[in-house]
């Protein structure tokens, strides 16, 4: 038995040693890079204060172009929205932003519409992008609240980084190899964090009827985000991006709202039902700049 235990122990310990070294290197490499938004914010953004930052999901990422908004309003903005994330992740992004010693006057919250009324928040598909910062209290606490297997693996990565790096090997390990070679490369967003969807070949279809959807802003994380904003003298604006053939009715007066859910009367502005294309993004950003201008004063 002792021979077996010795050999198993040797294999296990050597494996843990080598894989931990690779994993540490992998997370270090991502921390030095601009590949994902959390490290992009740390390494590529020199400005300390902003007029506004956008936090949100793919709708926020692909609808609001800070370059267009800033050219109209002469402001400094930053898009920190990430696709496939929920309000809980956006709260984490705001914490991460503040932890870097940066400030903003406004926080534009642009999550997926359906996320506003989610009762039980779960780990989002792209939350692993905060893994390089798992040793910070706010990221660790964030992962800790999820009892699902990926959540536990991500949380325990602060002790054994191999857990998270191997589970998300295609998302963490291989991008980190790229990050070693090209630390400045970004994962599909520009130098201000913006990304847009191309124009699909589609018909010029007028939208004649809008289905009304009621949103009550019940997700606990909106309140958490508002509280965090208030604590840091940031004004929160909830933004509702355009949706194809739908109109959002907001049943809450507790928040400042910019509702652009039904601004487009033609399907040619959309990439799919919930995302606009380049053309839609340009107009959406101009609409936003126009409404935001009044709030800036």
């Amino acid at each position: 038995m002792s021979l077996f235990l010795k050999k198993t122990g040797f294999i296990l310990l050597t494996f843990i040693g080598i894989s931990s070294a690779f994993s540490f290197l992998s997370l270090w490499s991502l921390r030095q890079s601009s590949f994902y938004k959390p490290s992009f914010l740390v390494n590529s953004i020199e400005e300390k204060s902003f007029h506004y930052v956008i936090i949100g999901a793919s709708t926020g990422l692909t609808t609001l172009n800070t370059k267009i908004i800033d050219s109209v309003l002469k402001t400094t903005g930053l898009n920190l929205a990430m696709d496939d994330t929920a309000l809980s992740s956006q709260y984490l992004m705001l914490q991460h932003f503040l932890a870097q010693g940066k400030t903003t006057k406004f926080c534009i919250l642009a999550p997926s519409i359906k996320d506003y009324d989610v009762k039980e928040n779960t780990l989002s598909g792209n939350d692993y992008r905060f893994l390089p910062y798992v040793n910070t209290i706010y990221v660790s606490d964030y992962y800790k609240q999820f009892s699902c297997q990926p959540g536990r693996l991500l949380n325990n990565s602060k002790w054994l980084p191999t857990l998270g790096v191997s589970y998300y090997n295609t998302e963490i390990f291989y991008p980190s190899l790229l990050a070693i070679l090209k630390p400045a490369s970004r994962n599909r967003f520009d130098d201000k964090g913006n990304y847009g969807y191309p124009i699909k070949i589609n018909d010029d279809k007028p939208i004649t009827e809008f289905k009304t959807l009621s949103i009550a802003l019940k997700n606990d994380y909106i309140k958490k985000i508002r509280d965090l904003c208030e604590l840091n003298n940031i004004k929160l604006i909830c933004y509702f991006s355009p949706i194809n053939r739908k109109k959002i009715k907001i049943d809450s007066k507790d928040y400042k709202i910019i509702n652009h859910s039904n601004i487009f009367k033609n399907e040619s502005y959309f990439y799919d039902d919930i995302h606009v294309n380049y053309k839609g993004r340009k107009i959406s950003s101009e609409y936003f700049a126009n409404d935001f201008k009044a709030l800036l004063k």
Binding site: F4, I11, S19, S166, N169, T170
Partner: protein
């Protein structure tokens, strides 16, 4: 409980410690632990079907005991039929009932007769095809007086439910596995280490090769009309590696886990993609099933003895039944027929045993290996497709030679990554297997350092986020 799950990673060391440190004093306590652990392992999927295993165990244990005491041939035959009908009846009901009803209705539709049908929502119990065949072989052997029935229900229950091979084989024979529950096991470090290496190698085949191949295979087979001939060709090849990695990986892990408890299970795969003809392939692929059919179907039918026509008939029956064993779908029957047709020429020319003794591969045999692999790959299309029509269309598109584009394998950075991982891991697989064959070994030989290397590959190249279920669980 999946072998590649965290649940199993906790379960296995726990049972190991209990087995070797708590229950090591008596054989009975070791066997009780094996039965309890096996039932827990199975109940993890669906505890309701545990009753089927227990029932099957009871029926075959009682029938075998009665066979031992019975001398009247008619009564013996009757008892044997009870076991046969119970086991095959259970299999027919859970696995084939809906298929027979639907095929019956479709057959009448060909003559313009429309029939109303209401099939039941029957869930297929995991592993039913495997443990049914295992218990059946016990009754057949007792009936034919090849083995003595066991007098211990506990030992028999452990033999039927032994968790490493319960749900996907290898399908063990009572003459090989049952005696192992009759003797107390003494821990053998060398044997256990070889088991550990097999577990590592099996995990590599499943988590790295099979699950990465599944990424492309699922896309290609789900939308076969939208891909070029070359993409379809590689899709079929990747499925060949997926199913091999998946099933042989499971078998390796099963054999390895059994070794940790001191049990020896039969080799189930012996480097099948290095086969030089179809006959050799069937001596290397799913050995426990093909030898089962050989012993309990082919030979009782007369084997290759008798007239040429009888030999041809027997081969066809065995391959058709073997195909049908895999699933209630015409695709499996066609797959079996294709293999029968590929095998028959060798049988008729008396060349089906050319490579029985020769294991070493020579350079001049490489074209034969490639040709055999390609033919097997084409047959896999029927195995993987959802229907015969889809498989037929797949093959039509494949041979239309419409384009040599392989764009789907490098369309996005993610696809380039998966392609690279697959190519690299298949090279590793073939290299280790080639070395084992050339050294006349039955399984891949890992050293301490190569085992560490493979574990690192599993860690950084394996699919953990969206793993695929073991394909053979559906059988």
């Amino acid at each position: 409980m999946l072998f590649n799950s965290i649940d199993f990673a906790i379960f296995l060391p726990l049972v190991f410690v209990l087995y070797w440190f708590v229950t090591k004093r008596t054989l009975i306590s070791q066997n009780i632990l094996i039965v309890l652990a096996s039932y827990l392992f199975y109940a993890w999927w669906d505890y309701r079907f545990l009753a089927l295993i227990i029932l099957s165990t009871l029926v075959d244990f009682i029938v075998a005991k009665q066979l031992e005491n019975e001398t009247d041939n008619r009564l013996r035959k009757g008892l044997f039929l009870v076991s046969l009908l119970f086991n095959l009846g259970m299999l027919a009901f859970f696995k084939y009932f809906n298929f027979f009803i639907e095929s019956w209705v479709e057959a009448w539709q060909l003559f313009g007769v429309t029939m109303e049908t209401s099939t039941l929502k029957i869930i297929l119990p995991v592993g039913i095809s495997f443990y049914t065949f295992q218990t059946l072989s016990y009754t057949i052997d007792v009936y034919k007086n090849k083995i003595e029935p066991t007098s211990s229900f506990l030992e028999f229950a452990a033999f039927v439910s032994f968790f490493p091979q319960l749900v996907a084989g290898p399908i063990e024979r009572a003459s090989h596995l049952l005696p192992q529950f009759k003797k107390k096991h003494i821990f053998n470090s060398e044997f256990a280490i070889s088991g550990l290496y097999l577990i590592i190698w099996g995990l590599f085949k499943k988590v790295v090769i099979a699950d990465n191949c599944a990424f492309f295979v699922n896309q290609i087979f789900d939308g076969a009309t939208g891909y070029s001939s070359m993409e379809l060709f590689f899709g079929a090849i990747l499925f060949g590696f997926q199913i091999y990695g998946d099933f042989s990986g499971y078998s390796d892990i099963a054999i390895g886990v059994a070794r940790l408890f001191g049990f020896s299970l039969m080799t189930n795969f012996s480097f099948p993609y290095f086969s030089r003809d179809i006959a050799e392939f069937w001596r290397r692929w799913h050995i426990s099933l093909s030898t089962w059919f050989r012993d309990y179907l082919y030979i009782p039918l007369g084997g290759s003895k008798g007239t040429t026509w009888q030999g041809v008939r027997n081969v066809f029956i065995v391959f058709l039944v073997s195909g049908f064993w895999h699933g209630a779908n015409w695709t499996f029957i066609v797959w079996g027929m294709i293999h029968a047709m590929l095998f028959l020429p060798l049988l008729l020319l008396g060349r089906n045993r050319t490579y029985v003794l020769s294991t070493k591969i020579y350079g001049s045999q490489v074209p034969k290996i490639i040709l055999t692999f390609l033919v097997i790959t084409l047959a896999w299309i029927f195995f993987r497709a959802d229907s015969v029509n889809i498989a037929y269309q797949y093959i039509i598109n494949l041979f239309s030679f419409n384009s040599s584009s392989v764009y789907m394998f490098y369309k996005t950075s993610k696809m380039i990554l998966f392609s690279t991982i697959i190519i690299f891991s298949i090279i590793i697989l073939l290299l280790f297997e080639f070395l084992a064959i050339q050294n006349n070994k039955k399984e891949v030989q890992l050293t301490t350092y190569s085992a560490i290397f493979i574990v690192i590959l599993i860690c950084f190249m394996g699919v953990f986020k969206n793993p695929s279920e073991f394909i053979y669980f559906q059988f």
